[in-house]
C-alpha cells in the first residue's frame, strides 16, 4: 500500500470509502424499515378501530327530502301515499326474511297503539322477488292490519334506496322522510322518532320570535 503523505487526515491503510458506505446503507435500511413499520402500524390501528360491516349505520340520503311516491298495487288494504296527514312508516319486507318475521309483532304493536287516533300508519312494501299470495299468507298467519303494496319492478325500493330487508322509513304527515331504520325496528323506537320530531317542530314554531313561524306539525 502506497502511503500518501499529501493528506495527513486520512489514515493511509484504511480503505477510504467503505465505512461511510456501510453506515449509509445501514441507515438507509433503518429508515426504510422505519417508514414501513410506521405505515403498517397506522394500518393496524385503522383496522382495529373498524366495526364489522353489518353494524354499519347507513344514513339515508332521503332524510329531509320529500318521500318518493309508492308504486305497485295493494295486496291488502288500500293504496295510500305519504303525506296524507298521518305519520307513515314505510316498511320493506319479504315473507321469507327472518328478521322481518322477528320485527312483525313490534309493527303490530305500533299499529294497534295508533289505530284509534289514526295519526300514524304502517305501509308494507313487498319485495319484488316475493309473491302476493305469500304476503297474504304471511299476514294471515301473523296478523297485522295495514296496507301492503307490491313492488314488482323494484321501483319503489330503488326510489327509497332500499338495500336490505327489513328497512323502515319514517315519514312525517306532510310527506318528508324523517328517519331510516336499517334492519329491525321496535314500536318504542318508532314512537321515539315521532316524538322527537314533533318536539323539534314545536321548538321551531315556538322558539322564533323575529320570523313569523309557520303553523304546527
Amino acid at each position: 500500500m502506497v502511503a500518501t503523505d499529501a493528506r495527513p487526515a486520512d489514515p493511509p491503510d484504511e480503505p477510504p470509502r467503505r465505512p461511510a458506505r456501510r453506515r449509509r446503507s445501514r441507515r438507509t435500511t433503518a429508515i426504510a424499515a422505519g417508514i414501513v413499520g410506521v405505515v403498517i402500524a397506522l394500518l393496524v390501528v385503522l383496522f382495529a378501530t373498524r366495526s364489522p360491516v353489518s353494524d354499519k349505520q347507513a344514513s339515508s340520503k332521503l332524510i329531509g327530502q320529500r318521500a318518493p311516491e309508492l308504486g305497485g298495487q295493494p295486496v291488502l288494504g288500500e293504496k295510500v301515499q305519504p303525506g296524507d296527514g298521518r305519520w307513515m312508516v314505510v316498511n320493506f319486507f319479504a315473507s321469507w326474511c327472518v328478521p322481518c318475521i322477528q320485527e312483525h309483532p313490534e309493527l303490530r304493536a305500533f299499529q294497534e297503539q295508533h289505530a284509534e287516533a289514526n295519526d300514524a300508519t304502517i305501509v308494507s312494501i313487498l319485495s319484488g322477488e316475493d309473491t302476493p299470495s305469500a304476503a297474504r299468507d304471511f299476514f294471515e298467519k301473523r296478523g297485522g292490519d295495514w296496507p301492503v303494496l307490491t313492488d314488482p319492478d323494484g321501483r319503489t325500493a330503488l326510489d327509497y334506496g332500499n338495500i336490505k330487508l327489513p328497512e323502515s322509513y319514517v315519514i312525517s304527515p306532510n310527506g318528508y322522510v324523517v328517519a331510516k331504520f336499517n334492519g329491525q325496528t321496535t314500536a318504542e323506537a318508532l314512537d321515539k322518532v315521532i316524538a322527537d320530531a314533533e318536539a323539534a317542530i314545536d321548538d321551531a314554531s315556538s322558539g322564533s320570535t323575529d320570523d313569523t313561524a309557520g303553523g304546527g306539525s
Partner: protein
C-alpha cells in the same frame, strides 16, 4: 365424545408447541444439542394432536353428531358425503383446524428433511418459529375459534353448509390446496427469521428452502386458479375474478411470493438484494395472516361473507407481532445484509429483477390500497366508498403490460451488463412473434388498444420463453425442460396464456337473455342465435335428490350434445340457487344460466354468455403448475468453470448467458 377427543387433540398440540419452544430455547441458549434434537419429538406431538382433532371433527360430521356446536351449525343429514367431509372447512373454526393440521404437517416435514442437522442453530431457530406460529393457531382453537364447543340440547338436524358451497365438487379441493399454499410459506419464513436471528444471512438458507418455496407457491397458484374456476362454474355470470376483498387477500401473498422467487435468483448468483428478499418473504407470510384477518373479521364487504367471530383482534395482533419482529430483525441485522456488489447496469438480469420487484411491489400496493381504501375513507372522511372492478382493472393494467414486456426481455438479458448488440440479436425473433400476434389478433377481430397491445406483448414474451427452451433443449436434450430457468420459462408460458385469456374474455364477451319455448310459436321461438351459436331449447325435467330438488332445462348448442343448466332448491335455504352449464372449447366457452323456472306454458328464460379463451385460464394455470414442478427438478450440477457455450468469438458478439446459475454455495 367427539368434542372431548377433539379438545384433547388441540390441547395436546398446544402443549407440544409450548414444550417445543421452551426446549429449543433452552437448547439454543445453553448450547445443548440433545435438547435441540428433541425438538423433533415435540413437532411430532403437535402433529399428533392436530390429526386427532381433525379425526374427531370429521367423525362428528360424518356421524352427524349434533352435540358439537360446529356440526349443529354447519352439518346436516341431507348433505352428501363429499360435501360433508368438506364441511369442516366451510366455516371458520374448522378452517383454523385445517390450518393447524397443515402447519403441523409442514413442521414435521421440515424436521424430517433436516433430521441430520437438528443441532444446527439455523434449523433450531426455524423450528422454533414454526412451533411459535403453531402455538398461535392452537391457542385460537382454545379461544375464539373453538370448533369443539358443545351444546346441551342437540337439534335433530342442522342447516347444512351454504348451498353455494354444496353444488360443485371444487369446494372440496379449493380450500385445502389454498391452505397448503398459505401455510407452506411459513417454512421459508421460519428460515428467514432463523437466518436473521443467527446472523447467517448468506445464501445457504435460501438454497435449502428453495424447493419448499416453489412448492408453496405452486399450491397457492393452483388454489387461486381453482377458486376462479369454481366461481366461473357456479355463479352464472361468466365472471371468475371480481377483485373481491377475499380474492385480493389470497392474491397479495401470491404477488410478493412471485417477486421473491425471482429476486432470490439474484441473491443466489451475486449476493445482492438481500433486504428485498427478506422483506418480500416476510411480507408474503405477513400477508397470509393479514389476508385471513381481512376475510374473517367482517370489516370488509365481500361476497365470500363468513359469519363474524371475535377472531379479528387476535389475528390483527399476530399480524402486528410478525411485522414488528421482522422489521426489528432487519434493522438489527442491517449491516450484515449489505451486499458485496452493486448492480452496475439497469440493462442486465439483475436490473430486470430489480424492476420486477418494483413492479410486483407496485401491483401489491395498488391491490392493498384498493382493498382497504373503503376503511380509510370511512375513518377519515366519514363516508364509505366502494372500490370495485373498474378501479382495479384500470390501475393494474399498466403494471400488467409492463410485466409482460419485462417477461420478454428478462430471459435474454445476461448478468452484469448487456449491450445493444446482444439485445438486438436475441430479441429479434421474439419481436417478430409479438408483431405477428398483433396482426393475428386484429385479423381474428380483436379491437381496442389495450387488449391488442397486451396480445402483442404476450406474443413477444412467449417468443422469448420459447427461444430459451429451444436453445436449452438443443444443448441438453430433455434436460432442457427441467431446472429452474427452463421450468420458469414454462411457467411464463402459462402466465401468458392466462394474461391473453384475461384480456380477451374481459373485452370480447357477448351475452344475451333469451326466452325460449319447447314448441316454437310466433312470439316464443325454440332457437336463438347468440354470437353465431344456435341455442335450441329441448325440454325440462325435475329431479329430486336427498340434498336438494332441481329443475333442469336442456339445450342443444349448435346441434350437438345437450347442456343442462339447473335451478336448485335446498331444503334449509329460502333462495333457489342456479347452477349454470358450460360448453368449453379451446377457443370459446358458452355458458347457459337458467333464469326462471319454466312457466306453465313451457317457456324458459335463459342467459347465454359467449366468452373467448376461457379454457386458456385453467390450462394456463395447469401449465404454470407443471412448469414449477419442472423448475423444482434438480438440474444437472455443473462445474461453474465449464464453458456452456461457444467460446467468446470476437469483440462484436457476447457469449450466450448460461441457464443454470452457479450455486454460490456459501453458508
Amino acid at each position: 365424545m367427539n368434542a372431548a377427543l377433539g379438545t384433547g387433540g388441540v390441547v395436546l398440540g398446544l402443549v407440544a408447541c409450548v414444550g417445543g419452544i421452551i426446549t429449543l430455547l433452552l437448547g439454543l441458549s445453553g448450547r445443548r444439542p440433545h435438547l435441540l434434537r428433541s425438538g423433533a419429538t415435540y413437532a411430532l406431538m403437535a402433529l399428533g394432536g392436530s390429526v386427532i382433532a381433525v379425526i374427531a371433527m370429521e367423525r362428528a360430521l360424518i356421524t352427524r353428531d349434533f352435540s358439537v356446536k360446529f356440526v349443529a351449525e354447519n352439518g346436516s343429514h341431507s348433505t352428501p358425503a363429499l360435501y360433508n367431509v368438506a364441511t369442516m372447512w366451510s366455516a371458520l373454526e374448522g378452517s383454523i383446524l385445517l390450518w393447524s393440521v397443515v402447519l403441523s404437517g409442514f413442521t414435521v416435514a421440515v424436521v424430517a428433511k433436516f433430521r441430520k442437522r437438528l443441532d444446527d442453530q439455523l434449523v433450531a431457530w426455524a423450528l422454533l418459529t414454526m412451533l411459535a406460529v403453531g402455538l398461535f393457531f392452537f391457542a385460537l382453537m382454545l379461544g375464539p375459534a373453538n370448533p369443539f364447543r358443545t351444546i346441551a340440547n342437540p337439534p335433530i338436524d342442522g342447516p347444512g353448509p351454504n348451498p353455494l358451497l354444496q353444488n360443485h365438487p371444487l369446494m372440496a379441493f379449493h380450500p385445502p390446496i389454498l391452505y397448503l399454499g398459505y401455510v407452506g410459506f411459513t417454512v421459508p419464513f421460519a428460515f428467514a427469521i432463523a437466518a436473521l436471528v443467527t446472523g447467517r444471512v448468506g445464501e445457504g438458507w435460501l438454497v435449502e428452502t428453495r424447493r419448499w418455496t416453489i412448492l408453496a407457491w405452486t399450491f397457492l397458484t393452483v388454489g387461486i386458479a381453482l377458486g376462479a374456476w369454481w366461481s366461473h362454474e357456479v355463479l352464472g355470470w361468466g365472471g371468475y375474478w371480481a377483485w373481491d376483498p377475499v380474492e385480493n387477500a389470497s392474491f397479495l401473498p401470491w404477488l410478493t411470493g412471485t417477486a421473491y422467487l425471482h429476486s432470490v435468483m439474484v441473491q443466489e448468483r451475486r449476493g445482492m438484494l438481500r433486504v428485498w428478499n427478506l422483506s418480500l418473504l416476510c411480507a408474503t407470510f405477513a400477508l397470509t395472516i393479514l389476508g385471513t384477518f381481512l376475510t374473517r373479521s367482517g370489516i370488509l364487504d365481500s361476497v365470500h361473507s363468513f359469519t363474524e367471530s371475535p377472531i379479528g383482534p387476535w389475528l390483527l395482533s399476530f399480524f402486528g407481532v410478525v411485522v414488528a419482529v421482522t422489521v426489528g430483525l432487519i434493522i438489527w441485522r442491517g449491516d450484515r445484509l449489505r451486499s458485496p456488489g452493486r448492480i452496475d447496469s439497469p440493462v442486465s438480469r439483475e436490473g430486470a429483477f430489480l424492476f420486477n420487484n418494483i413492479l410486483f411491489g407496485a401491483f401489491a400496493f395498488v391491490v392493498l390500497l384498493g382493498t382497504v381504501f373503503p376503511l380509510v375513507s370511512e375513518a377519515l372522511n366519514g363516508e364509505r366508498v366502494t372500490v370495485g372492478v373498474p378501479y382495479f382493472n384500470r390501475m393494474t393494467m399498466p403494471i400488467g403490460l409492463c410485466l409482460l414486456f419485462l417477461m420478454g426481455i428478462a430471459p435474454v438479458l445476461p448478468w452484469r451488463k448487456a449491450s445493444a448488440e446482444t439485445l438486438r440479436t436475441r430479441l429479434y425473433w421474439p419481436a417478430w412473434a409479438g408483431a405477428a400476434s398483433i396482426v393475428l389478433s386484429v385479423l381474428l377481430g380483436a379491437r381496442g388498444f389495450a387488449p391488442v397491445l397486451a396480445f402483442g406483448l404476450a406474443g413477444f414474451a412467449a417468443g422469448a420463453a420459447v427461444r430459451q427452451i429451444v436453445l436449452a433443449t438443443r444443448r441438453q436434450g430433455w434436460r432442457g425442460f427441467v431446472g429452474r430457468a427452463n421450468g420458469g420459462m414454462i411457467v411464463h408460458i402459462g402466465v401468458l396464456m392466462i394474461a391473453v385469456a384475461f384480456a380477451a374474455s374481459n373485452s370480447y364477451q357477448h351475452q344475451r337473455e333469451v326466452r325460449l319455448c319447447e314448441r316454437a310459436t310466433a312470439t316464443c321461438p325454440s332457437t336463438a342465435t347468440v354470437a353465431g351459436h344456435e341455442v335450441t331449447f329441448v325440454g325440462t325435467r325435475t329431479e329430486t335428490n336427498p340434498s336438494h330438488t332441481a329443475v333442469i332445462a336442456s339445450f342443444r348448442i349448435d346441434g350437438g350434445q345437450a347442456y343442462a343448466p339447473q335451478i336448485q332448491q335446498f331444503p334449509n335455504s329460502q333462495q333457489a340457487i342456479g347452477k349454470p352449464s358450460v360448453k368449453n372449447s379451446p377457443t370459446e366457452s358458452i355458458m347457459l344460466a337458467l333464469l326462471d323456472p319454466p312457466t306453465g306454458r313451457g317457456a324458459v328464460r335463459v342467459r347465454v354468455i359467449v366468452q373467448p379463451l376461457i379454457v386458456w385460464l385453467w390450462t394456463g394455470a395447469a401449465v404454470m403448475a407443471l412448469g414449477s414442478v419442472l423448475a423444482a427438478f434438480p438440474g444437472r450440477r455443473r462445474n461453474p468453470i465449464d464453458p456452456v457455450s461457444a467460446p467468446v468469438p470476437g469483440p462484436a458478439e457476447e457469449p450466450e448467458g448460461d441457464d443454470e446459475p452457479a450455486m454460490a454455495g456459501a453458508r
